[in-house]
Symmetry: C2
Subunit: 383 residues, 2 copies
């Protein structure tokens, strides 16, 4: 029964951790309400929560809530209803109930990328967020963000600018718009085929404790999360780390080391294994091959699909030397093959070029995406 | 004989590649001049070069050069003279002769770090170069750079500001100052215990073909090279790649993705394995442990020396919980040990914290350098 889930989800003292414990023990919200006090007490829940569950104090509110959500034009998704977004269901302690509004199903069927960052951000950060969100949305990616001021809002707006889809994960109820001056943004997201999502009951006000839970949904729904700007103690750093815990790709946009707003993103790249993003392709290239193939231009996508497509016109491609190469680049390119890594010593001998010219040629070929540097100072042609 | 080396080094057509071939075949410059025409011709040198060597056309010029260098207050180092800088001797095709001026020996006895970048740079880049050079020089590092406008000049100036040592590698003869308006900078470098170094004969003008050779010396003399700013086709990218070929550490300072000047450095971090630098400690931490120990504050240096120092007061350090931790951080810190990696699942169970709080606590401990994240979502205490 929907109302049991909604009721459990609105019970004070039952956070995602406690909810996970209850579901692990009893299997469903329905079963939780059939449990005895003794059974509940074994789980070391807060005593008030046990009282509330046993007394079913919140049942009337839950029933009213279901009605109110319908009236708002929203829907309620349950962890075990079969339509609950599967990437989110697979995280540690997924929300047991999701309140959604708008075209959530179509949005979440597409590849989703979280784009997040500080509320207090620089113009640079805002522009970077708009650019990346626009470029991703243009190619059919759903941009997921947290509806906050600053980077989040820029990400939503960038996606809308491109005529793309965007999903706002709220830290409040879906009937609350916070911050207030984002009312128009919320309306636009819904009009343009986007969606609002929250795990919190209607009327939940913006309280800071709720924002980490919102962030967990952003990364949980996404294949990867891009942090655009984040100061040293930014919540976005926690989002990034949560995304890593969820085995999501984490990306960060670098910035000047003199900018406080870029401290966190530079740190993520330096110390936490986040991938540096200069442009949307850097994000696409790290996604699963099938997804990358739909986003990247054919040549890059084929590289990404790699083995599978190798048979297609390989001999053709091998015989072609790209145009506009310098004599040294031409010479080096001809020495390379796509199959056998060539060590730089061997290239040095064969090319008879001074090491600095050889290196310049290799670098130039690499930047033009014609060759790939492998570990151990070896090089191969790209296909 | 010094004059044989100097003569060979000034022979047109004998670049470092050909010189390396000659030395490999004959063992020394002296022996090259005892070789027969037939022996020289076997090496497929340019015919004019063979003529010049056989006729010893340049001997008078070489003899005059030795005298002139002395008069300038400079010295000439030879590849096999026993004082030639050993890290440089170990690169692929080291210069066979180095012209030096100033306190080169003392400079090169210290840990050397190359700090390089674009000639056309931004104010941000200049400031970053000054800051890093100053911070390194203050701690006894010799800052090596290429004496060009822009980042190079800022690096030299930063080192001087700190009262430290700096070595300028010239693409001209050591008697030429290029660019002209760097005359005062050159004088200051020499006055403050720094040095000028070049592989080119006196009077060599600034020709662009020579600059890659200069760059090879910068990285050859250094433990690592920091690229501060570099545009897409910057020579600094080639310096970085050469440094990698020479097995030197390569560092890059990130910058806004909207800045052309940071394209190259961001690219190095993203695609070429350069380490991101936010501050001088990021450079020091990657140097050999003995060097890092002399630069870093004791606590960090001890981490770096690791095993060797573990016996020192370990039990003391284990029992101490750092001050100023939040309750969640305290709880997580107490669960961690320095010896056994704790998986995040285990921490999740033991701490009973919601995953987002646990993650926030771990991140905060990590940023405070109290814990270290290991691959596979495990954590240990740092010592």
């Amino acid at each position: 029964m929907i109302r049991d889930w909604v009721e459990l989800n609105m019970t004070p003292g039952i956070g995602p951790r406690a909810a996970a414990k209850l579901l692990e023990r009893f299997g469903s919200a329905e079963a939780v309400y059939k449990a005895t006090r003794a059974e509940l007490e074994q789980l070391r829940l807060p005593p008030e929560a046990v009282d509330t569950i046993i007394a079913r104090d919140l049942l009337p509110r839950a029933e009213a809530e279901i009605f109110a959500v319908k009236k708002l034009g929203g829907e309620i998704l349950l962890l075990d209803d079969g339509v609950y977004p599967s990437p989110l269901r697979e995280i540690y302690d997924p929300p047991i109930v999701l309140y959604v509004k708008g075209d959530w199903s179509d949005c979440l069927d597409r590849p989703c990328i979280g784009v997040v960052g500080s509320r207090r951000c620089s113009t640079y950060g805002q522009n970077a967020a708009i650019m990346l969100a626009r470029d991703l949305a243009q190619r059919g990616v759903t941009v997921v963000s947290g509806f906050a001021r600053g980077i989040d809002a820029a990400a939503h707006r960038g996606a809308l600018e491109a005529g793309g889809r965007t999903v706002a994960i709220l830290g409040t109820g879906i009937d609350e718009v916070y911050p207030r001056d984002h009312k128009k943004l919320a309306a636009e997201i819904l009009e343009r085929g986007g969606a609002l999502v929250s795990q919190f009951p209607l009327g939940t006000p913006p309280v800071s404790e709720n924002f980490p839970y919102r962030n967990r949904i952003i990364s949980g729904l996404s294949l990867g999360v891009v942090v655009v700007e984040a100061a040293e103690n930014s919540g976005s750093l926690i989002t990034a780390r949560l995304a890593m815990e969820q085995n999501r790709e984490v990306f960060a946009v670098p910035g000047n080391i003199t900018s406080r707003n870029s401290f966190g993103t530079n740190y993520l790249i330096k110390g936490a294994g986040a991938k540096l993003v200069q442009q949307w392709q850097d994000i696409a290239a790290e996604l699963p091959p099938q997804v990358a193939a739909t986003l990247l231009p054919p040549s890059l996508a084929e590289q990404k699909l790699g083995e599978r497509k190798k048979d297609v016109s390989m001999s053709d491609r091998l015989s072609l030397v790209p145009e506009g190469l310098s004599p040294a680049e031409h010479l080096v390119f001809k020495l390379l093959t796509p199959d056998t890594p060539a060590h730089v010593d061997w290239l040095f001998d064969k090319s008879e070029l001074p090491i600095s010219e050889l290196t310049a040629a290799l670098l130039s070929l690499e930047i033009r995406e014609l060759v790939r540097a492998l570990p151990g100072r070896c090089f191969v042609r790209k296909l």
